[in-house]
């Protein structure tokens, strides 16, 4: 037996009209953590789908050599039998079932169709211990946080006697602490001899844990590095990913000098819609000046999205109290319509769920938030509509064959530009951007940063929520920290760093 666990040779996979993969070669050594990286749409997920049999043998050309045997997987069960397990980016857990039920779903412990619950619970406990999950096996998935859900997915993989664990963007939805735990877990597994493939956009993480990196671009293998032997740095990887050098991700921004307060929130309180006694936001006050980019930093569960959505037309929460001022005037933001009319826009963190109607065209999505601008007496002027949509496509640099294309066919980055374009069409003065670059590739990220910066230069006020501190430090003039619903600090860009922010993000002063 060689020390190569998996070799994918000359994999070519075509979809009608597109070559998704072209002669891709990919090699994974036994016992290593191998990072697979590339822009969205580069072909990473397709490659993993070929490997796991979701794209069955015969639908692609090339060979998969696993444990020195040529494998022809017909479906996911085939690859799982060999110990190849994928944990998908969108978690495949059933919210209404318990941790134990989810872990052994389709793989139930028992005989003759009767489940042995004692055995199930016992094994679940063992698996949970291995992944460091401290919960009751009978807790429902919907009641535990997304970080814990990820651990359940991994425990589920372990229950199937995994030899090769594939993680597709495992930390995309996790905060820094949870990410850290997950990465440590991977290192722990490595010590036990497990091999993993990790797909991620977060270069820092990849450098921290992986032994090798393979870069894919436009369906082809661009490079493969051994991190212990080769001299590699982030810049080199980014260049391989985008085919050009990105010396600085964030646009240059001169020191902010403005002092005209555009938008101010005072003594904002929000209660949980599920539990009226629980204050999700507690007496929060903050402001943003004209032309300023203000960041809100907080760990997952700190109440960032809740704060934003409660301000935006009370889209979240109950018993909301507090005051909001625009240009010093108190404003009523009781529903979304009023918020929009007052010049506020909210770009949600979840563009698929809250931002776009995926089955509709780019044009329809772009126009959605302000139909009054393209209509007279309730009748839409389709010519003006097309003209305006074309304008937005150009100014936002949305890459699509046509504005009639369904948004579900666009890449993540371009979908995000459609969401931004939709809000630009309402001509807002205040933009709340909730995780504006989540799950999009490096190239598109830098484009989004550029757009945000231009908006600020035009005099718009921007509130940016992000769980990536470097992003906030790179983009914002001023950063508020949020912890357990309290605003715990206010930092000027030039006087702060990740460590200082983290201190405030984890401490509530009594």
């Amino acid at each position: 037996m060689s020390d190569i666990l998996l070799r994918m040779e000359n994999i070519t996979k075509e979809f009608p009209g597109v070559k998704a993969l072209e002669n891709v070669n990919f090699e994974v050594k036994k016992g290593e953590i191998h990072a697979l990286i590339g822009e969205n749409g580069a072909g990473k997920s397709t490659l993993m789908k070929v490997l796991s049999g979701i794209h069955p043998h015969g639908s692609y050309s090339g060979n998969i050599v696993y444990e020195d045997n040529v494998c022809e997987f017909k479906d996911v069960n085939d690859s799982e039998d060999k110990g190849i397990i994928i944990v998908h980016q969108e978690l495949a857990l059933i919210p209404e079932l318990s941790i134990a039920e989810n872990i052994f779903l389709g793989n139930e412990r028992g005989s003759k169709g009767v489940v042995n619950w004692r055995e199930t619970i016992k094994e679940t406990r063992e698996l949970m211990e291995r992944v460091g999950l401290v919960k009751n096996p009978q807790d429902l998935i919907k009641d535990i946080g997304v970080g814990h859900q990820q651990l359940v997915e991994i425990a589920k993989a372990l229950s199937k006697r995994v030899k090769l664990l594939i993680l597709d963007e495992p930390t995309a939805a996790l905060n820094e602490e949870e990410s850290e735990n997950l990465l440590n877990l991977l290192l722990e597994f490595k010590k036990q001899g497990m091999t993993s493939i990790m797909i991620s956009h977060k270069l820092k993480e990849l450098f921290k844990v992986s032994d090798s990196i393979t870069v894919i671009r436009d369906g082809q293998t661009i490079s493969s590095y051994n991190l212990h032997e080769d001299d590699v740095n982030e810049e080199l990887i980014i260049r391989d990913m985008v085919g050009r050098s990105l010396s600085n991700m964030y646009p240059d921004r001169p020191k902010f000098e403005g002092d005209e307060i555009k938008f101010e929130v005072k003594d904002w309180n929000v209660h949980s819609p599920q539990n009226a006694d629980w204050k999700v936001i507690d007496n929060a006050s903050f402001n943003v000046k004209k032309g300023e980019i203000v960041g809100i930093a907080g760990l997952m569960g700190a109440g960032r999205t809740e704060l934003a959505m409660s301000i935006f037309g009370q889209s979240y929460g109950k018993n909301i109290s507090g005051e909001a001022f625009i240009d010093g005037q108190a404003v009523n933001l009781k529903d979304v319509d009023k918020a929009i009319k007052n010049g506020i826009a909210y770009v949600s963190e979840d563009r698929k769920e809250y931002g776009l109607i995926l089955m509709y065209s780019v044009r329809r999505n772009l126009m959605l938030a302000d139909l009054s601008r393209i209509s007279k007496r309730g009748i839409i002027n389709s010519r003006i509509e097309t003209r305006e949509a074309e304008k937005l496509r150009e100014s936002m640099n949305i890459k699509t064959p046509s504005i009639e294309q369904e948004t579900m066919n666009l890449s993540g980055g371009n979908q995000q530009k459609v969401v931004l374009g939709k809000w630009m069409f309402t001509e807002p003065e205040i933009l709340i951007l909730d995780e504006p670059t989540r799950g999009i590739d490096v190239g598109a990220k830098s484009e989004i940063y550029k757009i945000i910066n231009e908006l600020a230069e035009m005099g718009k006020s921007i509130i940016m929520i992000s769980s990536e501190l470097p992003e906030l430090l790179g983009m914002c003039d001023r950063i508020y920290t949020l912890c357990e619903g309290h605003i715990t600090g206010e930092h000027l860009k030039e006087n702060t760093n990740q460590e200082k922010l983290m201190v405030d993000m984890t401490h509530v002063e009594a």
Partner: protein, 385 residues
């Protein structure tokens, strides 16, 4: 070659239901040795299916928002019963009675819309309850008996024809004239649209294709009105249908309201966060459905010339089937008014053709069920390709 294939493929998806309808019509024309397309029978098909088309239009809107209405058959029966009481028992003027009935329909829609939109009770449950409530109230109102006959002016709504002012002996001239007028109006609108499109620089179809479309549709319209003229001319109910179809198509395609209805069905959360009042949209969709169900109830009662407790039985299923065959999706967001009409006609021609052939009601039901399943299965498989 691949391009031709592509064009063909696109069109099969776009015109699939029309092709199916034409296919079914040709099939029954052959099986009934030419009875299906006689002037008398075509007139019959329109009159028999008028209330299903009315319901299908409302149902399409409801399904587009991602909801369902199981109560329309019972509501239609209830309104028929009210009309019976107002007109037969109390001799109210016809216009007053019709207006009252439509208002009651709106009220019923508002009642159901309230529970669905503002109290978040699934529409399946609310309208299932409505199905029982209004069937029961129909029996209460009618005391279990049948009320008849209706005054003539009420019956004309569903069974009379436009009078022929030209006194054609064998041919109804007004029908032919209206066909020509409609054709001219249609050509005028099309040319006007094309001209503005070109002015704004939008690529439209090629000139020969444009002419071909005009010619084909003009011929179809005029053959249709000519055929009607050979029997009794244009039924009033056809005019009502035409107004509804054109009106609702305009609302759904060209108006802000229509765009909002689609958005609510496409992604409710995204629509809400874009400033659309999703609850209000849903509420009014049900009010609209209530009014159309009332209209269907009136047409049906007029056609039967009686208010009976059994009226409107299984209408909801005909309406849902029509919408689904016409391309609606239960996940919401998809469907057109035109599709609903085609779907209703597919079911209608099937009913009529099988009856002409002397196939019993037992087999008719079974065959209709299979067609419904087949049509949707074909559509789903076509989309997955």
């Amino acid at each position: 070659m691949t391009k031709i294939k592509q064009v063909l493929n696109d069109n099969i998806r776009k015109f699939g239901m029309i092709i199916a309808l034409v296919g079914i019509m040709i099939l029954f024309e052959i099986l009934t040795s030419g009875i299906l397309l006689t002037p008398l029978n075509i007139t019959n098909i329109i009159m028999q299916n008028s209330y299903v088309i009315v319901l299908a239009i409302g149902m399409m809107l409801v399904i587009i928002t991602g909801e369902i209405d199981l109560s329309v058959g019972s509501v239609a029966a209830f309104i028929g019963a009210i009309a019976g009481v107002l007109l037969v028992t109390h001799d109210l003027p016809v216009y007053v009675a019709i207006l009252l009935c439509l208002l009651i329909g709106a009220g019923i829609g508002a009642w159901q819309g309230l529970w669905i939109a503002y109290f978040n009770i699934p529409s399946f449950i609310v309208t299932l309850a409505g199905m029982l409530i209004f069937r029961g109230l129909t029996l209460v109102v009618l005391n279990g008996r049948t009320l008849a006959p209706f005054p003539d002016s009420f019956r004309s709504l569903s069974s009379s024809f436009l009078p022929d002012w030209f006194n054609g002996s064998n041919l109804n001239i007004i029908a032919i004239v209206l066909g020509i007028v409609f054709t001219i109006a249609f050509i005028f609108v099309e040319i006007n649209n094309r001209r503005t499109d070109l002015k704004y620089g939008y690529t439209t179809s090629s000139f020969p294709a444009f002419i071909a479309k005009l010619v084909v549709l003009s011929i179809v319209i005029n053959i249709f009105t000519y055929t009607l003229s050979k029997y009794a001319g244009i039924p009033y109910v056809l005019i009502i249908l035409l107004i509804l179809v054109l009106g609702y198509s305009f609302v759904m395609n060209r108006m802000v309201v229509g765009r909002r209805i689609y958005a609510v069905g496409g992604n409710e959360s995204a629509a809400q966060l874009s400033g659309i009042k999703t609850k209000k949209v849903k509420f009014w969709t049900f009010v609209n459905m209530g009014v159309l169900a009332a209209l269907a109830g009136l047409i049906f009662a007029g056609r039967l010339n009686a208010a009976t407790p059994q009226a409107g039985n299984l209408f909801e299923l005909d309406a849902i089937a029509a919408a689904v065959i016409g391309g609606a999706s239960f996940t919401g967001g998809v469907g057109t008014i035109f599709g609903a009409v085609i779907g209703a006609l597919v079911m209608g021609v099937l009913n009529n053709g099988m009856s002409l052939m002397g196939i019993g009601i037992d087999w008719q039901q079974a065959i209709k069920g299979l067609v419904l399943l087949g049509a949707v299965a074909f559509d789903v498989m076509n989309k997955n390709k």
